[in-house]
Amino acid sequence: MRRALRAAALLLAVATLAFAAIHAAPGAPFQPADGRALDPVAAAGLRARFALDAPLPVQYARWLAAAVQGDLGESFSRQRPVRDVLAAALPHSLLLAAAALLVDLLVGIALGAWQAAHAGSRGDRVLSAFTMSVQAVPVFWLGLVLVLVFAQWWHWLPVGGATDPVTHDLLTAAGRWLDRLRHLALPALTLGLAGAAGTARFVRGAMRDAWHEDHVRTARAMGVPERTILLRHVLRDAWLPLATLVGLAIPGLIGGAVLVETVFSWPGIGRVATDAILARDHPLVVGTALVSAAAVVLGGLVGDLLAAWADPRVRRSA
């Protein structure tokens, strides 16, 4: 119950801040993208229709009253309900986030664990340099390189979009899944690899710390094989802080994948949010901010569940 109240308070705070910020930003909504000035009569009509001339607290109160009933208003730039715009974009963002998280964890844990087990070796040093390099590279640059190699040079994977607009509906169910996976591969790899580099460094450090714990030393003295020590004891110890890291990564993957969504024309929330800000689309900006806030709540929940799963003490205290 307390958690639900905290979540509601967070959503309200984020929505309020986003509402105030976008209204305070310079620039007017409804500007045609081609630089024309909007017909003054039409502009006045639109302002009246969306009650933009009312005092800001009044506008906020109206928005809030509608929002609690599930009506987030009408997008100025998309010309349809904000709810519909978000409903169309959210599944794409969730899919990308899940796939990227999978890449992040699989690659990051594997690399980190191997490095921890071979700490100080030449391989460890090479991988450390590699993960540091990947972390240092801007994510959009990594995306562009992958596009160049896998899409433009080798034509193995598509350059962008979530599906093939011509053939997707003509495919079998399996074919449609394959089509989705092919389109998902590069954005998920880009986003996932960028995270995996950090995860690997984190896992390596956490496992190296765990390596010197008493229970690990005891297990080794008892003759438990190194592989079992690594998987049963060291990795498990490292999992608890990693669970928190996963929880923190989720909001960034859902609402913050703006650059990746731009490079790959992925139709997710990040792209919608960027467009909305540039168009001064007040209702849509607040709507996307709400989704990001919800992702923070979700991330916290996932992190706590994973921690509880990894550590019985956390489960008992919960």
């Binding site: 500007q31 993208a33 017909d39 009509g45 979009g161 011509v166």
Partner: protein, 557 residues
């Protein structure tokens, strides 16, 4: 992995019925995909449309798509004059006649149909005019309809336009700005709801292509109307793939995931497209021109003159001090011209015999400034009465070309002692500041339709609604009025050129560039022609020769 779709029973029955009917009539049924009628054109487009309902669309992409769905009464032939009606070809209207100089009657083509099967009627035309003229919708081109007093349906195929007064571009205004709408589908919808009405996302049109589907933020698909009354389109399917921005759209074309892109914008992009081998480069006249607008009034007090830019000699000197031809060459690699007035390349008829562009002449510029009392002070910046020759240039942060121009202008103007600062702002902020007059100079771009009459007045005439610099030049206003009332193309051309000469003598802006558009289109497409005021205007005549069809062309056929 393509599935062979078994036809549904009703479709099978319908096919059987068609075969029986065809056999009975002694002719073969039309193959839905035979010869050169199978092509699929995938267009990579930066951005995403908001609505396909013509009076409420705001962007060029929305317009490109809806133009394939909705027809005009008549269409302007490429490069034809907008004066009179001789430059127009029938579309929904089969014919027209002038009852008198103020009354124009159209007879609709009786074969014209909406995609739901209903006939296109004169009531639709009258209904459309009322919608476009409604200020609540804010339709593009609404101001151009101000001289149409009424539109009346006489019978199901006859509709009469009454004008408030005779004028040379009456036919253009009656036909060019409006795409005819279905009264039977929209008549019951309050206009306040049109902006977000579902019709805008699944429209029923009367054009060569019918709407199939819209995947939000991803793609819109149209399919050829095989029974289109003006002739079945060659390409069976048009698909717009939406990309986040121009580079992403270009990538789709380079990687063969899309077939065409409207504009490549920069010389490096043109070079990339040329390098692929599978793309043909199609230059066509651009509808845009860009300029550095001077604000003649002080930004703080809109009534007071600007301390620097209100002086016509200073503005003239600034224009003379910039080597605009070199700038255009550097930025566009020869694919842009310096316009002698506010004119895009689209107005080719106006370029012939246009007044010369003022030369690049820093000596003359310096002389003008010296004569005006602007003397070179410390740091090389000119001053007059303690005031430096300094001003800011506002430029949209989203336009790489205009930002590049701002830097080059800053550099060139420094040489004659002008201290220029650059202000990058996003487009909504720029438009808000322009409208409020809170700027000193700004690099703007204007998209024109086929006639100067639509845009030149609002931008530069005294009191024009987009005359953000509060410029006033009675000589110019007089010539614009003369051009608008000219009944012959040659007279209009001469009057516009006199108007532009008046602008050159007292410049409200420094005209910077009028770019040529360059599209990239896959080489398998034949009979490609592009029009400056709508690059896809002739797309129903494009085709893919049967031997060049790809899997994508044949998918689902």
């Amino acid at each position: 992995m393509l599935r062979s779709l078994p036809p549904r029973r009703p479709a099978r029955r319908a096919t059987l019925a068609a075969l029986v009917l065809a056999a009975a009539l002694g002719c073969a049924p039309a193959d839905p995909c035979a010869g050169d009628r199978c092509g699929t054109l995938v267009i990579a487009a930066p951005g995403s449309p908001a609505s396909l309902l013509p009076p409420v669309i705001q962007g060029a992409l929305d317009r490109d798509i809806s133009d394939q769905l909705f027809l005009r009464l008549a269409d302007l032939r490429a490069g034809a004059s907008t004066i009179g009606d001789s430059g127009f070809a029938p579309q929904l209207a089969q014919s027209w006649r002038w009852e008198d100089p103020r009354t124009l009657t159209f007879t609709l083509d009786p074969r014209a149909r909406w995609h739901d099967g209903a006939r296109v009627t004169a009531l639709d035309v009258a209904f459309t005019f009322k919608a476009y003229a409604d200020s609540a919708l804010g339709a593009n081109g609404r101001p151009a309809l101000a001289r149409i007093a009424s539109v009346t349906a006489k019978d199901s195929v006859t509709v009469t336009f009454a004008f408030t007064a005779p004028y040379p571009e009456a036919f253009f205004d009656a036909t060019y700005h409006m795409r005819i709408l279905p009264a039977h589908l929209l008549g019951a919808v309050p206009r306040a709801e049109w902006r977000s009405h579902p019709f805008g996302r699944s429209p029923v049109g009367n054009g060569p292509y019918r709407f199939v589907k819209w995947d939000a933020e991803q793609a819109v698909t149209l399919e050829a109307d095989t029974s289109f009354f003006l002739g079945r389109p060659h390409l069976a399917r048009l698909v717009w793939r939406f990309a986040a921005d121009l580079p992403s759209a270009l990538q789709q074309v380079l990687a063969k995931e899309a077939d065409a892109i409207e504009v490549l914008v920069s010389p490096p992009n043109v070079a990339l497209a040329e390098h692929t081998g599978h793309l043909a480069i199609h230059p066509y006249p651009g509808g845009t021109y860009a300029f550095l607008r001077f604000n003649t009034k002080a930004a703080v007090s809109r009534a007071a003159p600007h301390p620097v830019l209100a002086d016509a000699d200073v503005r003239r000197a600034l224009v003379l001090a910039v080597d605009r031809a070199s700038l255009a060459q550097n930025v566009f690699g020869g694919r842009a011209k310096v316009p002698p007035g506010p004119m895009p390349l689209l107005w080719g008829w106006l370029w012939a015999g246009a007044p010369p562009v003022p030369p690049f002449d820093t000596t003359q510029a310096a002389r003008l400034l010296d004569a005006g009392g602007w003397t070179v002070g410390p740091g090389g910046v000119r001053r007059k009465g303690g005031r430096p020759l300094a001003f800011s240039v506002m430029v949209p942060s989203t336009s790489a070309g205009r930002k590049q121009y701002a830097v080059l202008l800053q550099e060139q103007l420094k040489r004659i002692g002008a201290d220029v600062t650059i202000e990058e702002v996003d487009l909504p902020t720029m438009m808000q500041r322009l409208q409020a007059g809170r700027f000193e100079t700004a690099i703007e771009a204007m998209q024109g339709d086929p006639t100067p009459a639509t845009t030149v007045g609002p931008l530069w005439e005294s009191g024009g609604e987009m005359n953000f610099g509060r410029y006033a030049n009675p000589a110019f206003d007089t010539q614009v009025a003369a051009a608008r009332s000219a009944t012959e193309a040659a007279a209009a051309q001469a009057a516009w050129q006199r108007a532009f000469a008046a602008l050159a003598a007292d410049p409200p802006a420094m005209m910077l560039f009028a770019p040529e558009n360059v599209a990239a289109i896959d080489r398998r497409f034949a009979d490609v022609t592009l029009r400056g005021d709508g690059w896809l205007a002739h797309v129903r005549q494009w085709r893919v020769p049967p031997e060049q069809l790809t899997e994508r062309d044949k998918a689902g056929r």
